[in-house]
Protein backbone atom coordinates (compact mmCIF):
# COMPACT_ATOMS: atom_id res chain seq x y z
CA UNK A 1 0.00 0.00 0.00
CA UNK A 2 1.92 3.05 1.30
CA UNK A 3 0.45 6.51 1.76
CA UNK A 4 1.81 9.66 0.18
CA UNK A 5 1.04 13.33 0.66
CA UNK A 6 2.21 16.61 -0.79
CA UNK A 7 1.43 20.25 -0.13
CA UNK A 8 2.45 23.21 -2.27
CA UNK A 9 1.52 26.58 -0.78
CA UNK A 10 0.48 29.51 -2.92
CA UNK A 11 -0.49 31.73 0.02
CA UNK A 12 2.57 32.89 1.96
CA UNK A 13 0.53 33.40 5.11
CA UNK A 14 0.22 29.62 5.41
CA UNK A 15 4.00 29.02 5.34
CA UNK A 16 4.42 28.97 9.13
CA UNK A 17 1.86 26.12 9.22
CA UNK A 18 3.39 23.96 6.50
CA UNK A 19 4.96 21.50 8.93
CA UNK A 20 1.80 21.04 10.97
CA UNK A 21 -0.47 20.76 7.92
CA UNK A 22 1.76 18.19 6.26
CA UNK A 23 2.14 16.26 9.53
CA UNK A 24 -1.62 15.95 9.98
CA UNK A 25 -2.02 14.85 6.36
CA UNK A 26 0.57 12.10 6.81
CA UNK A 27 -0.73 10.91 10.19
CA UNK A 28 -4.22 10.50 8.73
CA UNK A 29 -2.80 7.86 6.36
CA UNK A 30 -0.95 5.89 9.06
CA UNK A 31 -2.88 2.69 8.36
CA UNK A 32 -1.64 2.68 4.78
CA UNK A 33 1.88 1.94 6.00
CA UNK A 34 3.16 1.39 9.53
CA UNK A 35 6.78 0.47 8.76
CA UNK A 36 8.50 3.80 8.39
CA UNK A 37 7.71 7.39 7.53
CA UNK A 38 9.45 10.44 6.18
CA UNK A 39 8.91 14.03 5.27
CA UNK A 40 10.76 16.61 3.16
CA UNK A 41 10.23 20.29 3.86
CA UNK A 42 11.31 23.09 1.56
CA UNK A 43 12.14 26.07 3.76
CA UNK A 44 12.95 29.68 3.03
CA UNK A 45 15.96 30.15 0.73
CA UNK A 46 19.05 31.94 2.02
CA UNK A 47 21.79 33.41 -0.16
CA UNK A 48 24.49 32.64 2.34
CA UNK A 49 23.90 29.04 3.22
CA UNK A 50 23.03 25.64 1.90
CA UNK A 51 22.02 22.58 3.91
CA UNK A 52 22.84 18.92 4.23
CA UNK A 53 20.52 16.66 6.26
CA UNK A 54 22.50 13.81 7.80
CA UNK A 55 21.51 10.78 9.85
CA UNK A 56 23.28 8.45 12.22
CA UNK A 57 22.25 5.34 14.14
CA UNK A 58 24.56 6.62 16.91
CA UNK A 59 23.94 10.38 16.96
CA UNK A 60 25.67 11.06 20.32
CA UNK A 61 28.93 9.63 19.02
CA UNK A 62 28.76 10.87 15.42
CA UNK A 63 27.39 14.41 15.85
CA UNK A 64 29.57 15.40 18.84
CA UNK A 65 32.27 17.84 17.76
CA UNK A 66 31.40 17.43 14.09
CA UNK A 67 30.84 21.17 13.57
CA UNK A 68 34.36 22.07 14.71
CA UNK A 69 36.03 19.25 12.82
CA UNK A 70 34.05 19.94 9.65
CA UNK A 71 34.73 23.70 9.75
CA UNK A 72 38.43 22.95 10.07
CA UNK A 73 38.33 20.41 7.24
CA UNK A 74 36.66 22.76 4.73
CA UNK A 75 38.05 26.04 6.09
CA UNK A 76 34.63 27.67 6.45
CA UNK A 77 32.29 28.16 9.40
CA UNK A 78 29.65 25.43 9.81
CA UNK A 79 26.56 25.20 11.99
CA UNK A 80 24.85 21.98 12.99
CA UNK A 81 21.38 21.61 14.48
CA UNK A 82 20.73 18.13 15.87
CA UNK A 83 17.21 16.67 15.85
CA UNK A 84 17.21 13.16 17.32
CA UNK A 85 18.94 10.83 14.81
CA UNK A 86 19.17 13.56 12.20
CA UNK A 87 21.11 16.80 11.99
CA UNK A 88 21.08 19.71 9.57
CA UNK A 89 24.50 21.01 8.58
CA UNK A 90 24.62 24.57 7.22
CA UNK A 91 27.51 26.19 5.42
CA UNK A 92 28.16 28.45 2.42
CA UNK A 93 26.65 27.15 -0.85
CA UNK A 94 30.06 27.09 -2.54
CA UNK A 95 31.39 24.64 0.04
CA UNK A 96 28.44 22.27 0.16
CA UNK A 97 29.90 19.46 -1.99
CA UNK A 98 33.19 19.67 -0.16
CA UNK A 99 31.37 19.52 3.17
CA UNK A 100 29.47 16.43 2.06
CA UNK A 101 32.71 14.62 1.19
CA UNK A 102 34.37 15.77 4.41
CA UNK A 103 31.46 14.46 6.51
CA UNK A 104 31.83 11.02 4.95
CA UNK A 105 35.58 11.08 5.62
CA UNK A 106 35.21 12.30 9.22
CA UNK A 107 32.24 10.08 10.13
CA UNK A 108 31.94 7.06 7.80
CA UNK A 109 28.74 5.83 9.52
CA UNK A 110 26.78 9.00 8.82
CA UNK A 111 24.25 8.79 5.97
CA UNK A 112 23.24 11.78 3.90
CA UNK A 113 19.45 12.09 3.63
CA UNK A 114 19.57 14.98 1.19
CA UNK A 115 21.18 18.30 0.42
CA UNK A 116 20.41 21.57 -1.27
CA UNK A 117 19.65 25.21 -0.73
CA UNK A 118 16.33 24.73 1.02
CA UNK A 119 15.34 21.09 1.56
CA UNK A 120 15.45 19.22 4.86
CA UNK A 121 14.58 15.51 4.94
CA UNK A 122 13.64 13.47 8.00
CA UNK A 123 12.83 9.77 7.83
CA UNK A 124 12.89 6.87 10.23
CA UNK A 125 11.40 3.48 10.96
CA UNK A 126 8.11 3.81 12.85
CA UNK A 127 4.61 5.21 12.55
CA UNK A 128 4.10 8.70 11.06
CA UNK A 129 3.08 10.23 14.39
CA UNK A 130 6.26 8.95 16.09
CA UNK A 131 8.43 10.19 13.25
CA UNK A 132 6.73 13.60 13.15
CA UNK A 133 7.12 13.99 16.93
CA UNK A 134 10.74 12.80 16.94
CA UNK A 135 11.76 15.52 14.50
CA UNK A 136 9.29 18.19 15.64
CA UNK A 137 8.05 18.49 12.05
CA UNK A 138 4.94 20.42 13.14
CA UNK A 139 7.03 23.47 14.02
CA UNK A 140 8.68 23.66 10.60
CA UNK A 141 7.88 26.43 8.16
CA UNK A 142 8.25 26.26 4.41
CA UNK A 143 6.83 26.73 0.93
CA UNK A 144 6.13 23.11 0.03
CA UNK A 145 6.75 19.58 1.22
CA UNK A 146 6.09 15.90 0.60
CA UNK A 147 5.64 12.93 2.92
CA UNK A 148 5.37 9.17 2.87
CA UNK A 149 4.30 6.35 5.16
CA UNK A 150 5.62 2.99 4.05
CA UNK A 151 4.36 -0.56 3.84
CA UNK A 152 7.49 -2.23 2.55
CA UNK A 153 7.06 -4.71 -0.28
CA UNK A 154 10.37 -5.11 -2.05
CA UNK A 155 13.30 -4.06 0.15
CA UNK A 156 14.25 -3.93 3.81
CA UNK A 157 12.51 -1.87 6.48
CA UNK A 158 15.36 0.47 7.36
CA UNK A 159 15.90 4.20 7.70
CA UNK A 160 17.55 4.28 4.31
CA UNK A 161 14.68 2.31 2.77
CA UNK A 162 12.17 4.93 3.95
CA UNK A 163 10.99 7.69 1.63
CA UNK A 164 11.49 10.47 0.54
CA UNK A 165 14.49 9.59 -1.60
CA UNK A 166 16.76 12.41 -2.60
CA UNK A 167 19.29 11.94 -5.40
CA UNK A 168 19.98 15.53 -6.43
CA UNK A 169 20.21 18.96 -4.85
CA UNK A 170 16.80 19.97 -3.49
CA UNK A 171 15.17 17.08 -5.35
CA UNK A 172 13.17 14.34 -3.69
CA UNK A 173 10.49 11.83 -4.47
CA UNK A 174 7.89 9.68 -2.71
CA UNK A 175 6.31 6.66 -4.36
CA UNK A 176 3.29 4.44 -3.93
CA UNK A 177 3.66 1.26 -5.96
CA UNK A 178 6.45 -0.99 -7.13
CA UNK A 179 8.71 -0.89 -10.16
CA UNK A 180 9.68 -3.96 -12.14
CA UNK A 181 12.56 -2.70 -14.28
CA UNK A 182 14.47 -0.82 -11.58
CA UNK A 183 17.52 -3.10 -11.64
CA UNK A 184 18.07 -2.42 -15.32
CA UNK A 185 17.49 1.32 -14.98
CA UNK A 186 19.85 1.39 -11.97
CA UNK A 187 22.61 -0.28 -14.03
CA UNK A 188 22.18 2.34 -16.75
CA UNK A 189 22.27 5.20 -14.25
CA UNK A 190 25.35 3.76 -12.53
CA UNK A 191 27.08 3.79 -15.90
CA UNK A 192 26.22 7.51 -16.09
CA UNK A 193 27.91 8.00 -12.73
CA UNK A 194 24.90 8.10 -10.38
CA UNK A 195 25.49 6.68 -6.90
CA UNK A 196 22.95 4.54 -5.03
CA UNK A 197 22.60 3.95 -1.30
CA UNK A 198 20.05 1.09 -1.35
CA UNK A 199 18.51 -1.73 -3.38
CA UNK A 200 15.21 0.13 -3.31
CA UNK A 201 13.13 0.62 -6.48
CA UNK A 202 12.03 4.13 -5.51
CA UNK A 203 15.60 5.36 -5.22
CA UNK A 204 15.97 4.41 -8.89
CA UNK A 205 12.95 6.52 -9.82
CA UNK A 206 14.41 9.48 -7.90
CA UNK A 207 17.79 9.04 -9.57
CA UNK A 208 16.13 8.71 -12.98
CA UNK A 209 14.46 12.11 -12.50
CA UNK A 210 17.70 13.68 -11.22
CA UNK A 211 19.51 12.35 -14.27
CA UNK A 212 16.85 13.69 -16.65
CA UNK A 213 16.93 17.12 -15.02
CA UNK A 214 20.75 17.11 -15.06
CA UNK A 215 20.41 16.66 -18.84
CA UNK A 216 18.44 19.89 -19.01
CA UNK A 217 14.84 18.72 -18.78
CA UNK A 218 12.42 20.57 -16.55
CA UNK A 219 10.40 18.74 -13.90
CA UNK A 220 7.41 18.22 -16.18
CA UNK A 221 9.53 16.77 -19.00
CA UNK A 222 11.41 14.52 -16.58
CA UNK A 223 8.15 13.22 -15.12
CA UNK A 224 6.83 12.51 -18.61
CA UNK A 225 9.86 10.32 -19.23
CA UNK A 226 8.88 7.99 -16.38
CA UNK A 227 5.85 6.89 -18.42
CA UNK A 228 8.01 5.31 -21.10
CA UNK A 229 11.17 4.45 -19.18
CA UNK A 230 9.86 3.03 -15.90
CA UNK A 231 7.81 -0.16 -15.82
CA UNK A 232 5.54 -1.04 -12.93
CA UNK A 233 3.00 0.60 -10.70
CA UNK A 234 3.55 4.10 -9.52
CA UNK A 235 2.06 7.25 -8.22
CA UNK A 236 4.98 9.66 -7.73
CA UNK A 237 4.95 12.95 -5.88
CA UNK A 238 8.10 14.96 -6.44
CA UNK A 239 9.58 18.11 -4.95
CA UNK A 240 12.22 20.40 -6.40
CA UNK A 241 13.59 23.70 -5.08
CA UNK A 242 10.63 25.66 -6.40
CA UNK A 243 8.37 22.99 -7.83
CA UNK A 244 5.98 20.18 -7.02
CA UNK A 245 4.87 17.45 -9.41
CA UNK A 246 2.63 14.40 -9.64
CA UNK A 247 2.44 11.55 -12.14
CA UNK A 248 0.63 8.19 -12.17
CA UNK A 249 1.37 5.20 -14.39
CA UNK A 250 -1.09 4.44 -17.22
CA UNK A 251 -2.87 1.68 -15.26
CA UNK A 252 -3.27 4.05 -12.28
CA UNK A 253 -4.30 1.48 -9.69
CA UNK A 254 -2.50 3.34 -6.90
CA UNK A 255 -4.97 5.83 -5.47
CA UNK A 256 -4.56 9.58 -5.71
CA UNK A 257 -6.65 12.64 -4.91
CA UNK A 258 -5.74 16.27 -5.43
CA UNK A 259 -7.23 19.51 -4.16
CA UNK A 260 -6.56 23.06 -5.23
CA UNK A 261 -7.65 26.40 -3.79
CA UNK A 262 -6.26 29.93 -4.08
CA UNK A 263 -4.09 29.06 -1.08
CA UNK A 264 -2.57 25.68 -1.98
CA UNK A 265 -2.30 22.58 -4.12
CA UNK A 266 -2.52 19.38 -2.08
CA UNK A 267 -2.04 15.70 -2.86
CA UNK A 268 -3.15 12.67 -0.84
CA UNK A 269 -3.33 8.94 -1.50
CA UNK A 270 -6.86 9.29 -0.14
CA UNK A 271 -9.32 12.10 0.47
CA UNK A 272 -8.95 11.43 4.22
CA UNK A 273 -5.56 13.15 4.08
CA UNK A 274 -7.10 16.40 2.83
CA UNK A 275 -10.08 16.81 5.15
CA UNK A 276 -8.34 19.07 7.67
CA UNK A 277 -6.98 21.55 5.12
CA UNK A 278 -8.44 25.06 5.26
CA UNK A 279 -11.28 25.63 2.80
CA UNK A 280 -11.33 22.00 1.64
CA UNK A 281 -15.12 21.98 1.37
CA UNK A 282 -14.90 24.56 -1.39
CA UNK A 283 -11.69 23.32 -2.99
CA UNK A 284 -11.54 21.85 -6.49
CA UNK A 285 -11.03 18.17 -5.70
CA UNK A 286 -10.14 15.71 -8.46
CA UNK A 287 -8.43 12.44 -9.20
CA UNK A 288 -5.29 12.94 -11.29
CA UNK A 289 -5.63 11.25 -14.69
CA UNK A 290 -3.45 8.26 -15.54
CA UNK A 291 -0.29 8.91 -17.58
CA UNK A 292 -0.69 12.65 -17.11
CA UNK A 293 1.92 14.96 -15.66
CA UNK A 294 0.87 17.67 -13.21
CA UNK A 295 3.34 20.20 -11.90
CA UNK A 296 3.41 23.59 -10.27
CA UNK A 297 6.31 25.98 -9.77
CA UNK A 298 6.72 29.06 -7.60
Amino acid sequence: MCGIVGLFLKDKSLEPQLGSMLSEMLISLSDRGPDSAGIAIYGAPSKNEAKITIQSARPERDFRGLDTELAKAIGTPVSIVVKSTHAVVRTTPAKIDEAREAIQALRPDIRVMGAGDVVEIYKEVGMPEAVVNRFDVRSMTGTHGIGHTRMATESAVTTMGAHPFSTGADQCLVHNGSLSNHNNVRRELVREGMKFETENDTEVAAAYLSSQMAHGKNLGEALKGTLSDLDGFFTFVVGTKNGFGVVRDPIACKPAVMAETDQYVAFGSEYRALTKLPGIDNARVWEPEPATVYFWEH
Binding site: A252, V257, E270, Y271, R272, L274, E287, P290
Partner: protein, 241 residues
Protein backbone atom coordinates in the same frame (compact mmCIF):
# COMPACT_ATOMS: atom_id res chain seq x y z
CA UNK B 1 -35.38 10.88 -7.31
CA UNK B 2 -37.42 8.76 -4.89
CA UNK B 3 -34.55 8.00 -2.52
CA UNK B 4 -33.72 11.63 -1.84
CA UNK B 5 -37.27 12.78 -1.41
CA UNK B 6 -37.96 10.03 1.12
CA UNK B 7 -34.86 10.94 3.13
CA UNK B 8 -35.89 14.57 3.18
CA UNK B 9 -39.41 13.70 4.28
CA UNK B 10 -38.06 11.57 7.11
CA UNK B 11 -35.46 14.14 8.09
CA UNK B 12 -37.03 15.05 11.41
CA UNK B 13 -37.17 11.38 12.41
CA UNK B 14 -33.79 10.36 11.02
CA UNK B 15 -31.35 8.70 13.34
CA UNK B 16 -28.21 10.84 13.12
CA UNK B 17 -24.69 9.50 13.46
CA UNK B 18 -21.92 12.08 13.68
CA UNK B 19 -18.64 10.33 12.87
CA UNK B 20 -16.74 13.16 14.59
CA UNK B 21 -18.32 11.92 17.81
CA UNK B 22 -19.09 8.24 17.25
CA UNK B 23 -17.00 5.55 15.69
CA UNK B 24 -17.54 4.03 12.28
CA UNK B 25 -17.86 0.64 13.97
CA UNK B 26 -20.76 1.92 16.09
CA UNK B 27 -22.53 3.18 12.97
CA UNK B 28 -22.10 -0.04 11.03
CA UNK B 29 -23.03 -2.19 14.04
CA UNK B 30 -26.22 -0.15 14.57
CA UNK B 31 -27.10 -0.62 10.90
CA UNK B 32 -26.41 -4.35 11.11
CA UNK B 33 -28.59 -4.63 14.24
CA UNK B 34 -31.66 -3.53 12.26
CA UNK B 35 -34.31 -6.21 12.01
CA UNK B 36 -37.12 -6.57 9.46
CA UNK B 37 -39.95 -4.16 10.13
CA UNK B 38 -37.86 -1.77 12.23
CA UNK B 39 -39.28 1.73 12.30
CA UNK B 40 -35.78 3.26 12.17
CA UNK B 41 -36.02 3.67 8.42
CA UNK B 42 -34.09 6.93 7.97
CA UNK B 43 -30.45 7.44 8.86
CA UNK B 44 -28.12 10.35 8.47
CA UNK B 45 -24.33 10.20 8.69
CA UNK B 46 -22.41 13.40 9.38
CA UNK B 47 -18.69 14.11 8.95
CA UNK B 48 -17.72 10.98 7.00
CA UNK B 49 -14.43 12.75 6.06
CA UNK B 50 -13.17 10.08 3.72
CA UNK B 51 -13.68 7.21 6.17
CA UNK B 52 -13.59 3.72 4.71
CA UNK B 53 -16.48 1.23 4.67
CA UNK B 54 -19.28 3.65 5.59
CA UNK B 55 -22.58 1.70 5.66
CA UNK B 56 -21.23 -1.59 4.34
CA UNK B 57 -23.28 -4.74 4.55
CA UNK B 58 -26.64 -3.10 5.27
CA UNK B 59 -29.41 -5.64 4.69
CA UNK B 60 -32.61 -3.76 5.54
CA UNK B 61 -34.60 -1.37 3.29
CA UNK B 62 -33.64 1.86 5.06
CA UNK B 63 -32.47 5.18 3.63
CA UNK B 64 -29.05 6.50 4.60
CA UNK B 65 -27.96 10.04 3.76
CA UNK B 66 -24.21 10.57 4.07
CA UNK B 67 -23.34 14.27 4.32
CA UNK B 68 -19.86 14.56 2.86
CA UNK B 69 -17.27 12.51 1.02
CA UNK B 70 -16.45 8.89 1.81
CA UNK B 71 -13.37 6.69 1.32
CA UNK B 72 -13.07 3.10 0.16
CA UNK B 73 -15.98 0.65 -0.21
CA UNK B 74 -18.94 2.80 0.87
CA UNK B 75 -22.13 0.75 0.65
CA UNK B 76 -20.28 -2.44 -0.17
CA UNK B 77 -22.47 -5.56 -0.26
CA UNK B 78 -25.54 -3.36 0.11
CA UNK B 79 -28.72 -5.38 0.20
CA UNK B 80 -31.89 -3.36 -0.11
CA UNK B 81 -30.95 -0.03 1.43
CA UNK B 82 -30.90 3.33 -0.35
CA UNK B 83 -27.66 5.18 0.33
CA UNK B 84 -27.11 8.75 -0.88
CA UNK B 85 -23.63 10.23 -0.60
CA UNK B 86 -23.82 14.03 -0.68
CA UNK B 87 -20.19 14.27 -1.73
CA UNK B 88 -17.72 12.08 -3.60
CA UNK B 89 -16.82 8.43 -3.08
CA UNK B 90 -13.46 6.69 -2.88
CA UNK B 91 -12.49 3.42 -4.56
CA UNK B 92 -14.90 0.49 -4.69
CA UNK B 93 -18.17 2.24 -3.91
CA UNK B 94 -21.01 -0.30 -3.93
CA UNK B 95 -18.61 -3.19 -4.41
CA UNK B 96 -20.57 -6.42 -4.67
CA UNK B 97 -23.91 -4.67 -4.13
CA UNK B 98 -26.77 -7.19 -4.09
CA UNK B 99 -29.83 -4.91 -4.28
CA UNK B 100 -31.11 -1.49 -3.27
CA UNK B 101 -29.52 1.68 -4.57
CA UNK B 102 -26.57 3.97 -4.03
CA UNK B 103 -26.52 7.55 -5.32
CA UNK B 104 -23.27 9.50 -5.41
CA UNK B 105 -23.86 13.23 -5.84
CA UNK B 106 -20.21 13.93 -6.65
CA UNK B 107 -17.54 11.82 -8.37
CA UNK B 108 -16.59 8.20 -7.75
CA UNK B 109 -13.04 6.84 -7.71
CA UNK B 110 -11.87 3.64 -9.34
CA UNK B 111 -13.79 0.34 -9.59
CA UNK B 112 -17.20 1.75 -8.68
CA UNK B 113 -19.78 -1.03 -8.53
CA UNK B 114 -17.15 -3.75 -8.97
CA UNK B 115 -18.58 -7.30 -9.00
CA UNK B 116 -22.07 -5.90 -8.20
CA UNK B 117 -24.80 -8.53 -8.33
CA UNK B 118 -27.86 -6.28 -8.41
CA UNK B 119 -29.39 -2.98 -7.43
CA UNK B 120 -28.74 0.46 -8.92
CA UNK B 121 -25.63 2.62 -8.57
CA UNK B 122 -26.03 6.21 -9.79
CA UNK B 123 -22.99 8.48 -10.05
CA UNK B 124 -23.99 12.05 -10.76
CA UNK B 125 -20.44 13.23 -11.44
CA UNK B 126 -17.65 11.28 -13.16
CA UNK B 127 -16.49 7.77 -12.39
CA UNK B 128 -12.84 6.81 -12.62
CA UNK B 129 -11.10 3.78 -14.07
CA UNK B 130 -12.47 0.23 -13.96
CA UNK B 131 -16.08 1.32 -13.34
CA UNK B 132 -18.25 -1.81 -13.28
CA UNK B 133 -15.32 -4.21 -13.45
CA UNK B 134 -16.61 -7.78 -13.34
CA UNK B 135 -20.19 -6.57 -12.80
CA UNK B 136 -22.61 -9.45 -12.38
CA UNK B 137 -26.10 -8.00 -12.62
CA UNK B 138 -25.85 -4.50 -11.14
CA UNK B 139 -27.14 -1.48 -13.06
CA UNK B 140 -24.78 1.51 -13.08
CA UNK B 141 -25.74 4.95 -14.41
CA UNK B 142 -23.05 7.64 -14.68
CA UNK B 143 -24.02 11.20 -15.63
CA UNK B 144 -20.44 12.21 -16.43
CA UNK B 145 -17.52 10.28 -17.90
CA UNK B 146 -15.94 6.98 -16.95
CA UNK B 147 -12.24 6.06 -16.98
CA UNK B 148 -10.23 3.37 -18.71
CA UNK B 149 -10.79 -0.40 -18.42
CA UNK B 150 -14.42 0.07 -17.40
CA UNK B 151 -16.68 -3.00 -17.53
CA UNK B 152 -13.61 -5.24 -17.77
CA UNK B 153 -14.88 -8.85 -17.78
CA UNK B 154 -18.39 -7.55 -17.11
CA UNK B 155 -20.74 -10.51 -16.94
CA UNK B 156 -24.27 -9.15 -16.73
CA UNK B 157 -26.19 -6.01 -15.85
CA UNK B 158 -26.20 -2.62 -17.52
CA UNK B 159 -23.72 0.25 -17.56
CA UNK B 160 -25.11 3.58 -18.79
CA UNK B 161 -22.75 6.52 -19.39
CA UNK B 162 -24.07 9.93 -20.38
CA UNK B 163 -20.58 11.29 -21.05
CA UNK B 164 -17.48 9.67 -22.53
CA UNK B 165 -15.77 6.35 -21.80
CA UNK B 166 -12.00 5.92 -21.53
CA UNK B 167 -9.76 3.38 -23.25
CA UNK B 168 -10.35 -0.37 -23.39
CA UNK B 169 -14.06 -0.24 -22.64
CA UNK B 170 -15.58 -3.67 -22.04
CA UNK B 171 -12.36 -5.65 -22.42
CA UNK B 172 -13.13 -9.39 -22.34
CA UNK B 173 -16.78 -8.64 -21.69
CA UNK B 174 -19.38 -11.40 -21.28
CA UNK B 175 -23.07 -10.50 -21.45
CA UNK B 176 -23.32 -7.09 -19.74
CA UNK B 177 -24.83 -4.28 -21.85
CA UNK B 178 -22.97 -1.00 -22.16
CA UNK B 179 -24.70 2.20 -23.30
CA UNK B 180 -22.51 5.23 -23.96
CA UNK B 181 -23.82 8.61 -25.11
CA UNK B 182 -20.45 10.29 -25.73
CA UNK B 183 -17.15 9.17 -27.21
CA UNK B 184 -15.42 5.90 -26.43
CA UNK B 185 -11.60 6.17 -26.14
CA UNK B 186 -11.21 2.65 -27.48
CA UNK B 187 -12.93 -0.70 -27.19
CA UNK B 188 -11.24 -3.55 -25.34
CA UNK B 189 -10.71 -7.06 -26.68
CA UNK B 190 -13.91 -8.70 -27.90
CA UNK B 191 -16.08 -5.63 -27.23
CA UNK B 192 -18.00 -4.28 -30.22
CA UNK B 193 -20.67 -1.71 -31.07
CA UNK B 194 -24.07 -3.35 -31.46
CA UNK B 195 -27.37 -2.27 -32.93
CA UNK B 196 -29.88 -0.58 -30.66
CA UNK B 197 -33.09 -2.60 -31.03
CA UNK B 198 -36.48 -1.55 -29.58
CA UNK B 199 -36.02 -3.73 -26.50
CA UNK B 200 -32.72 -1.93 -25.75
CA UNK B 201 -34.30 1.50 -26.13
CA UNK B 202 -37.02 0.41 -23.73
CA UNK B 203 -34.51 -1.02 -21.25
CA UNK B 204 -32.41 2.14 -21.40
CA UNK B 205 -35.42 4.41 -20.88
CA UNK B 206 -36.27 2.38 -17.79
CA UNK B 207 -32.74 2.78 -16.44
CA UNK B 208 -32.74 6.54 -17.05
CA UNK B 209 -36.11 6.81 -15.31
CA UNK B 210 -34.89 4.84 -12.31
CA UNK B 211 -31.82 7.09 -12.09
CA UNK B 212 -34.03 10.20 -12.19
CA UNK B 213 -32.48 11.45 -15.44
CA UNK B 214 -34.67 13.53 -17.71
CA UNK B 215 -34.06 15.38 -20.94
CA UNK B 216 -31.91 12.61 -22.41
CA UNK B 217 -33.25 10.25 -25.08
CA UNK B 218 -32.22 6.58 -25.37
CA UNK B 219 -31.64 7.16 -29.08
CA UNK B 220 -28.67 9.40 -28.20
CA UNK B 221 -26.71 6.35 -26.94
CA UNK B 222 -24.75 3.63 -28.66
CA UNK B 223 -24.79 0.08 -27.38
CA UNK B 224 -21.66 -2.03 -26.89
CA UNK B 225 -21.34 -5.66 -25.92
CA UNK B 226 -19.52 -8.91 -26.46
CA UNK B 227 -18.52 -10.19 -29.89
CA UNK B 228 -18.39 -13.60 -28.16
CA UNK B 229 -15.17 -14.62 -29.89
CA UNK B 230 -13.36 -15.31 -26.62
CA UNK B 231 -15.94 -17.73 -25.30
CA UNK B 232 -14.25 -20.79 -26.74
CA UNK B 233 -10.60 -21.64 -27.12
CA UNK B 234 -9.43 -21.06 -30.67
CA UNK B 235 -6.62 -23.36 -31.70
CA UNK B 236 -5.21 -20.66 -33.98
CA UNK B 237 -4.38 -18.63 -30.87
CA UNK B 238 -2.33 -21.41 -29.28
CA UNK B 239 0.94 -19.66 -30.12
CA UNK B 240 -0.14 -16.65 -28.08
CA UNK B 241 0.14 -18.57 -24.79
Amino acid sequence: MPATSKATRDQSHARVFDLDVMSLRELNQALHNLTPGSNETAWEVLNPKGNHSVAVGVDQPVTIDVRGSVGYYCGGMNSGSTITVHGSAGPGVGENMMSGSIIIKGDASQYAGATGRGGLLVIEGNASSRCGISMKGIDIVVRGNIGHMSAFMAQSGNLVVLGDAGDALGDSIYEARLFVRGKVGSLGADCIAKEMRPEHLELLQGLLDRAGITGVKPTEFKRYGSARTLYNFNIDNADAY
